[in-house]
């Protein structure tokens, strides 16, 4: 990790008795794509708006490139922002929208023209320069908003659910485009979304937020493979959450025992704990040293995948997902199921029970 581009230190926002953001600290590296992921009301947009300077914090500090910008007005921050509804100026042409930040910075006409053309090329819409925003499709508007936010080469770009208003197909398309643009420009991006797929695909790191605070920060793999809390485990991906008892280096569930690759997360032997097993990590039909017997209660064939409901001894139910095709398992079958110790993830206790 290189030097921090953006540093957030104990940043807080309160509206009267309501807390929109608990004191929060965070560092974003130069060139990093950080996603603030969380359900609505988790404080992610509040945090973003405070970085942009559109909401004033109740406490704490924000520094960009090592300089404190906490009290700087938005226009002096040099941060590009893409709003959820794009906030394109309806009375200005696409060209003038993109030129706007350059004009604000007093650039020369030739310079502006060059930069705007370049930005339009970047988002592959050179032909719409003269149009008004309302004459563009949603996806086009989104791209223009992106071009406008990066045309002045801001050291940091903030994106507030930029794909939220688009249909799924367009969203999937643009996700990849944003990823590509980020690679090309090398800009630092802080991105807000409630969509885990977007977060997984785009981010270098994900900052998962819940209840006005950070739940967990890590790479997408970290969050998926090793979620720290119940919330993290359920918010990202599908999950089997099981109550278990620690035995020091593994867990007991009823009369079954599972080894885990993360024994350091376990509470002292004999204490209860929660364990996550991702459904696709259960391998039905594979016998091994640690495998156990399960009854298949139902099978849903989804073509590409197959979803099984498994009943284990002691009344424990787990869901499993396998690839489609291959050997057919039907309801009523009794199968061996095995799971790798690295896929048995003990969760840390919830921090606010």
């Amino acid at each position: 990790m290189t030097t921090a581009k953006l540093t957030i230190d104990s940043l807080t926002k309160r509206y009267g008795p309501m807390t929109a953001l608990e004191p929060t600290s965070l560092a974003v590296a130069a060139g990093e794509f950080l996603t603030l992921l969380g359900p609505s009301g988790s404080g992610k947009t509040t945090l973003l708006m405070m970085i942009a300077g559109l909401t004033s914090p109740s406490g704490g500090h924000i520094a960009l490139d090592g300089k404190d910008i906490t009290t700087k007005p938005p226009h002096a921050r040099d941060i590009g922002v893409i709003f959820q509804n794009y906030a394109l100026f309806p009375h200005l042409s696409v060209y003038e929208n993109i030129a706007f930040p350059l004009r604000m910075r007093g650039r020369s006409g030739a310079e502006i023209d060059h930069a705007v053309r370049q930005a339009l090329d970047l988002v592959q819409l050179p032909q719409v320069a003269a149009r008004l925003p309302r004459e563009l499709s949603g996806g086009q508007q989104q791209r223009i908003a992106f071009a406008r936010a990066v045309v002045f080469r801001p050291p940091l770009v903030l994106m507030d659910e930029p794909l939220g208003a688009l249909d799924k197909k367009l969203r999937d398309e643009l996700k990849f485009e944003i990823r590509k643009l980020h690679r090309e420009l090398g800009t630092t991006i802080v991105y807000v979304t409630h969509d885990q797929d977007e977060a997984m695909l785009l981010s270098d790191r994900i900052c998962l937020m819940n209840n006005a605070r950070i739940e967990q920060i890590g790479t997408p793999a970290d969050l998926y493979e090793r979620p720290a809390t119940r919330f993290a485990a359920t918010f990202i991906g599908e999950s089997n959450l099981v109550d278990a008892i620690s035995d020091g280096n593994g867990v007991r569930i009823g009369d079954l025992r599972f080894a885990t690759a993360l024994p350091e997360r376990l509470p002292p032997a004999g204490s209860p704990c929660s364990v996550l097993i991702r459904p696709e990590r259960l391998r039905p039909g594979v016998a091994g040293p640690d495998s156990f017997i399960a009854t298949v209660e139902s099978v849903i064939d989804l073509g590409a995948s197959r979803r099984l409901a498994l009943r284990l001894g002691g009344g424990l139910s787990l869901s499993a997902i396998t690839l489609g095709g291959g050997r057919v398992i039907t309801a009523g079958d009794t199968v061996h199921v095995s799971v790798d110790p690295s896929d048995v993830v003990p969760l840390l206790g919830e921090r606010h029970p």
């Binding site: 300077g53 559109l54 004033s56 709003f83 309806p90």
Partner: protein
């Protein structure tokens, strides 16, 4: 899709009202301008207008005054509308109350208040000489300035209401976005907010200009001879000289000016902005050019101001929201609106027999006179009944039309809109005079019905504009949902649509109510003076006595109307 005949049917009530009691009478009145007294066709009256020169000179002076009043009204209304549009709910309630307060008092009485305020012995001059700023009292009254002040005072609330509709629809996020792109607040305002609020500004300007063009009481009472307006000459022709053909020609001149302005406005901005809607049709080449120029000009101003702010190191506010200077200027505007009302309250307690400053021998004498006078109480009752019925007629006529209107588009929509607001174009006096003939034939002279119909014609444009503004925000999919659940169109309207838009309808009804309550001309000219309304009695009182009774009546009406408005606000909340 609604069948065309059904849509037309919805226009029927409005068509009947306007055809029978507006277009027909006005048309035949104006036609007189081209005939001699014996009925032969002639261009004599028309050529006289050109030959005499005076009329064109007065017309030009009227346009000049109207332009000034429009400019001043827009400048005054803008900050107030801005604050109103951006305030949070609670603050909005207070601002609305204060801004609308002048509406609940007669414009006639407010004009008289200015006579007292600006007079040589008035409080303003007393203050100036008392403070030693001037030795002798200044000539404030009977000047160009006095006319502008009096007219602006009356018209600013209309401008505010028109602008607020558009401003409330401006996405606040755009200003925030401009900030993140490097625009100082002042630049963001001039480059983004101001251009986006222009449809509201132009609509307000149009309303104010057309209304100002037809003024005759304020220039007569507050101005010098130079501030003679064309409506005064029309009245002179109608009432004193009884030269109706010539009056008709003068009216046509006035109408022509108004129509040219309307036409230009429709071409450039689109009539639908009058209802607080964003521009109806995409502007063509010329307009786009003008628009771009305006945007650039406004942007330039913003840049210069921002540069100045940078130079002197003015700190920019960190948070969004209305800045203190704007709130201050809005407060000053509100004060300006309230001054005549505030003056009248103390004056109403004076023991003197004429409107004057300062009030002396305070007592309730004038209130006693009003409240024990069957004439005044009867007129008040009649006025309130007529105003209520006027709102009802507007409701019956305009609500179906408004629904039908929203299904129209393009030229048909423009034409329908122009029809509905056409009574705004014609000076009320002319409507009243023309109505008399129709009333005489139908036996409506001197009846409550006659008053109600006349008032409804005059209040219809205001009601219609207000209803359209509400209906545009209504989600018509709810109607489709109701229909899919088996509701007939009538059931849908009664159980779904009307309850949902009832708040807006109450506002629109209140608008019509107030316009009726303050309407003088119909009672004066079309009712034969037989059915005295409150404004008619006030007018008599003002032209005959100029007594503090006016102040007492005005204060009483203010109290009653405030109660009505607060009640309506309560109803809206439920």
């Amino acid at each position: 899709m609604i069948a065309p005949t059904r849509t037309l049917l919805l226009f029927l009530p409005a068509g009947i009202l306007l055809g029978l009691f507006f277009i027909g009478p006005i048309g035949s009145f104006l036609m007189q301008g081209f005939f001699t007294r014996d009925g032969g066709p002639t261009a004599e009256h028309l050529s006289r207008v050109w030959a005499a020169g005076t009329y064109l000179q007065v017309m030009a002076a009227s346009v000049k005054i109207a332009v000034w009043v429009t400019l001043l009204s827009i400048l005054a209304a803008y900050p107030a509308a801005y604050v109103l549009a951006t305030a949070d709910r609670r603050a909005k309630g207070y601002w609305t109350l204060f801004i609308l307060l002048p509406f609940w008092s007669s414009f006639l009485v407010r004009t008289f208040a200015w006579i007292v305020l600006l007079g040589r012995q008035g409080p303003l001059n007393a203050g100036l000489t008392g403070a030693g700023l001037t030795e002798a009292p200044l000539d404030l009254l009977y000047t160009h300035g006095a006319v502008l002040i009096g007219m602006t005072n009356v018209l600013v609330p209309f401008a505010i209401l028109t602008m607020v509709g558009v401003m409330e629809r401006i996405d606040r996020g755009l200003v925030a976005a401009a900030g993140t792109l490097g625009a100082r607040p002042v630049q963001a305002f001039f480059r983004v907010y101001l251009p986006l609020s222009m449809p509201g500004v132009t609509a307000a300007a149009l309303l104010v200009f057309i209304t100002a063009l037809g003024f005759f009481i304020a220039p007569a009472l507050l101005g010098s001879a130079r501030e003679t307006m064309i409506a005064q000459l029309i009245i002179q022709q109608v009432m004193e000289l009884v030269n109706w053909p010539f009056a008709a020609i003068l009216c046509l001149t006035l109408l022509a000016v108004a129509l040219v302005i309307f036409w230009a406005f429709d071409r450039l901005v689109g009539l639908s902005t009058l209802a607080g809607q964003p521009s109806g049709h995409a502007a063509g080449g010329v307009m786009r050019g003008i628009g771009a120029l305006g945007i650039r000009l406004s942007g330039g101003i913003g840049d210069i101001l921002a540069a100045i702010a940078n130079r002197i190191g003015l700190p920019a506010p960190l948070t969004q929201g209305t800045s203190a200077p704007i709130r201050m200027s809005a407060a000053v505007v509100v004060l300006f609106l309230l001054v005549p009302l505030l003056l009248l309250i103390p004056v109403s307690f004076t023991g003197k027999t004429y409107l004057s400053w300062p009030p002396v021998d305070l007592g309730l004498h004038w209130y006693q006179e009003v409240l024990t006078s069957p004439v005044w109480l009867g007129a008040a009752l009649r006025s309130f009944i007529v105003a209520g019925l006027t709102a009802l007629v507007c409701f019956i006529v305009a609500v179906p039309t408004a629904f039908a209107f929203l299904k129209l588009s393009g030229r048909t929509a423009s034409a329908a809109f122009a029809l509905m607001i056409s009574p705004l174009l014609v000076p009320r006096l002319v409507i009243a005079v023309a109505l008399f003939y129709v009333y005489a034939r139908l036996g409506l002279v001197g009846t409550i019905t006659g008053l109600v119909i006349g008032h409804a014609v005059i209040a219809l444009p205001f009601f219609f504009i207000a209803v359209i503004a509400v209906l545009k925000t209504y989600d018509t999919r709810l109607d489709l949902a109701a229909a899919s659940l088996g509701a007939t169109p009538w059931q849908t309207a009664r159980r779904i649509t009307l309850p949902l838009i009832s708040g807006g309808l109450v506002s629109a009804g209140l608008f019509a109510f107030v316009v009726s309550l303050d309407e003088l001309n119909i009672a004066l000219f079309a009712a034969g003076g037989l059915q005295s309304t409150l404004p008619k009695l006030m007018w008599d009182e003002a032209t005959l006595r100029f007594s503090p009774l006016l102040a007492a009546v005005s204060t009483l009406v203010l109290i009653v109307m405030s109660a009505v408005v607060l009640l309506a606000a309560r109803l809206r909340r439920i």
